[in-house]
Amino acid sequence: MCPVDGGFAGPHYDRRTVSASGVPAPGKVPSDRIRNFSIISHVDHGKSTLSDRILELTGAVDPRLMREQYLDSMDIERERGITIKAQNVRVVYRDHILHLIDTPGHVDFGYEVSRSLAACEGAVLLVDASQGIQAQTLANGYQAIEHDLEIVAVLNKIDLPAADPDRCAKEIEQVLGIGAGEILRISAKTGEGVAELLDAIVERIPAPRGDRSAPLRALIFDSAYDQYRGVVSSVRVVDGVLGTRSRLRFMQAGAVHDVEEIGVRAPDPTKADELGPGEVGYLIAGIKNVGEARSGETVTDASAPAGEPLAGYRDPKPMVFCGLYPIDGDELPELRDALDKLKLNDASFTYEPESSHALGFGFRCGFLGLLHMEIIRERLEREFDLSLIATAPSVEYRAYLTDGIVVEVDNPTDLPDASRIDHVDEPLLTATILTPSEYTGTVMELCQSRRADMQRMEYLSPERMELVYTIPLAEVVVDFFDQLKSRTKGYASLDYEPSGYATANLARVDLLINHVPVDAFSTIVHRSQADVYGRRMAEKLRELIPRQLFDVPIQAAVGGRVVARETVKARRKDVLAKCYGGDITRKRKLLERQKEGKKRMKSIGRVEVPQEAFISALRLED
């Protein structure tokens, strides 16, 4: 995919022909010469680095243009050293066409993995030999098994002194049932073993079995918006031939589009006339909105349509919500525009207008997880030059009212009055934690303090424990992952998936500044934690709110009962500088600056709170 302002048609666009000597051009490749696979693993186990080596070894990228994690093309990916979007590439190896998909490892982007797997016959499951099996190794490995894919297990980073490939191989054998003898050993860093891995891919992963003469059926497994070309979709042809002259019917959307361009990514976009069964490439069909070319869509020939669409997949649902507000209220239209644009590329987040007494107008946005939230926010600020305030992340509660109505509440201030509520349900997760067995105790303690119910606990190997919990999502949203990491020296890993709702004893904590409730600070927490939370927030606000012209009481209230009170003492003095030589200008400018500064303040009643105080108070870490 391409970042919003990225260069699908930009400077990297290179229209060299693919049909180099001996290699069949796209559309003409016999299925038995094709291998389609995803590279999957836990975060940071080396998928993108392995992709680099494959690009080099197959000569797909000019060595002079090579850079680390070549496929991580977004700025934010490069800066953070993580993959956010899956990327597919076509390379040639030993007269075979290999389509590889580099996937993200982070749990928030798990849906990218499942989409990628749907376009493949095999998966390279990478395991860092110095770390062994981690939570996403299992989660992604199981997904590959569910998709019935051929798994090529690979131990990576064998160059590291801490690598223990023998132990890791045994572990993989025990846990995933892949024979230790079949597990390859490579270093994606040095390139050692990568050629052998490619050989194994060619030998072990089945060729696609498509029917060239059947009606066209192609799966869209990713769509991105390019400002020059419109929607560019990644497609995997299953049956038939996708040609430039086709009129296409998008079976789920029920729309018909003409093909504008098809091609392959090698990795630069390279035009092609056709894509045959089993081939992976891109499709541009004059579509302006990714919603019309959703992942999971089946594309067929409008003049000779297939009977049945391919099995699609459901879009992931947002799990974490927060309000995003422009610091400068005048930037609201820009924020809306930016959200619209980002949405073109990332159908997985949601947004709808909301307003806050304290923060003005903004949007309530839904994300797949905290990292996703952080990334969208950072992209809004960076790529669109916006300054934003984000409210504390919340989950979506279901309030069952006494009159039988059920309200979904993704913003704590929307929780109806306690007297109208019969009970409130909160979303749960099934969380899988893998930890070195010596940390089992501390992990269990953490989980218990977060209202988690243990479902299962099992030794994966003598050194590694798997713990499965049902835990409220709201508890995971508040620094659970950081706590888990810090309690286990970084060794534990976490994977989770939604697992329904359960009734809980929840309370809304409100914060009042000078007796005025500030909606942006309202939070829903478990009743047992409400007082502590209220006290902590009141203290924090006392530190953050600058002294005013009068004493300012700060209160935390749980259901109308004040549980904490702090006071910001009145300011006593301004600068009383001498006015020298009739320099009134300096004084007036100071006044004008102060007046200007007030614009960056939010008024809560008579209290002026700088934006920075909101930002710090709403920051969740401390």
């Binding site: 012209l549 009068f550 009145a570 300011r571 006593r572 003095k573 301004d574 600068v575 009383l576 500088a577 001498k578 006015c579 020298y580 030589g581 009739g582 320099d583 009134i584 200008t585 004084k587 007036r588 100071l590 006044l591 102060q594 007046k595 500064g597 007030k598 008579r606």
Partner: protein, 376 residues
């Protein structure tokens, strides 16, 4: 009509370590050329019809008493002024010899302003001031003997190591010396960026401590019969400083010399800051103006409110939003249709100024025009 002339004298013996004013310590050899330049600037202004007869003249600095008295007299001669003009000279107490004061007197100076700061030796040392405390009563006595009945002393509170008692002692000393001043300016020590003081946070004054000293200052001076003229200025009845009042009433004045500011009819301009550039400009026959701004319309009205709020004249009550809440908070008092700062309010004058609105609802019509007491 009132009209002021300010003359800047940018020479000091050494630089006090809290000072960020436009002054120099090593350019005394340029004094003669500087004086000539000031006179040239004055003459050009007179020729250009830019000077009305001054009702007040103020020699500020810097340290005007660094100038030989005859040099100062030559400048003063070039200033067209009314017969009863107030003419103030800022003076270092150490410089206040009977001869110098007599010379000032005979050249038309009517008012002396002494840079006393403190009468407590360790406080003076902490401020980096080098005069000895004994010079203060001597200067006050000499001024009285020379016939000056209008005298100001400048004081500073909040130096490192200054206690509440030290400050109290300074106040009482100043009031009890023979020839006690009819006007007192007491400033809170302010940390100006770029000064040695700024670089030494351990010596930075504490706001709450300074606020308490301010309140004490007001109490002591009020008890002694002084009345506040402006936030940092107090005077016995009849001893107000006409020149300073001009500033607070948005009056008109022309500044002569480097870094001097001028105001006429909503145009504010100021001269180049360094004295070398000032001399060079005047010698080359150019105006030494560095920059100017027009302060018109709402801005001008706001400026007028801001200045007036700093004085017992206060502002029309409608110019402050929520004025009743401010009264409840003890920051302003209602005096008829006007709102006037309390002692606590004066300490927060900047913050309160930022609330002012020139277009706000005013129970008695337009703000900032007829409601103002006429200028004397």
């Amino acid at each position: 009509m009132t009209f002021g002339v300010y003359v800047h004298v940018p020479f000091c013996r050494h630089r006090c370590d809290y000072c960020a004013f436009a002054t120099t310590t090593d350019l005394d050899p340029l004094m003669g050329r500087y004086v000539d330049a000031c006179i040239a600037e004055l003459e050009a202004a007179v020729e250009g019809g830019e000077l009305d007869a001054a009702t007040s003249v103020f020699f500020g600095g810097g340290t005007p008493s660094r100038l030989p008295p005859d040099a100062l007299a030559r400048i003063l001669e070039s200033v067209p002024r009314t017969r009863d003009a107030e003419v103030t000279v800022e003076c270092n107490p150490e410089d206040a010899s009977p001869e110098r004061l007599a010379a000032y007197r005979s050249s038309g100076v009517t008012r002396m302003s002494f840079g006393v700061q403190s009468t407590v030796p360790h406080v003076l040392a902490a401020l980096g001031r080098r005069h000895r405390p004994e010079s203060v009563p001597r200067a006050l006595g000499a001024a009285a003997s020379a016939g000056f009945d209008r005298v100001n002393v400048d004081l500073i509170y909040g130096a490192a190591g200054e206690t509440d008692d030290d400050w109290e002692r300074t106040l009482h000393d100043v009031l009890s010396f023979a020839g006690a001043p009819g006007h007192v300016s007491a400033y809170a020590l302010t940390v100006e960026p770029g000064t040695p003081l700024a670089a030494d946070p351990a010596r930075h004054p504490d706001d709450d401590v300074q606020a308490a000293r301010y309140e004490r200052t007001d109490a002591v001076l009020t008890a002694a019969g002084y009345r506040w003229e402006e936030i940092s200025n107090w005077a016995l009845p009849g001893h107000g400083c006409r020149h300073n009042q001009l500033y607070w009433r948005q009056g008109e004045y022309v500044g002569i010399g480097s870094a001097a500011h001028s105001h006429r009819a909503g145009r504010r301009w100021w001269n180049v800051r360094t004295l070398e550039r000032y001399i060079a400009a005047v010698d080359a026959g150019r105006r030494p103006t560095a920059s100017e701004e027009l302060v018109q319309g709402e801005r001008r009205a706001l400026e007028r409110l801001m200045l007036s709020l700093r004085t017992p004249a206060g502002v029309p009550a409608g110019a402050l939003p929520d004025v009743d809440a401010l009264v409840t908070d003890g920051l302003v008092e209602r005096e008829g249709e006007r709102a006037v700062l309390t002692v606590r309010g004066r300490l927060l004058a900047n913050a309160l100024s930022a609330l002012l609105r020139a277009d706000g609802p005013s129970p008695s019509g337009a703000v900032g025009r007829a409601r103002y007491p006429a200028l004397p």
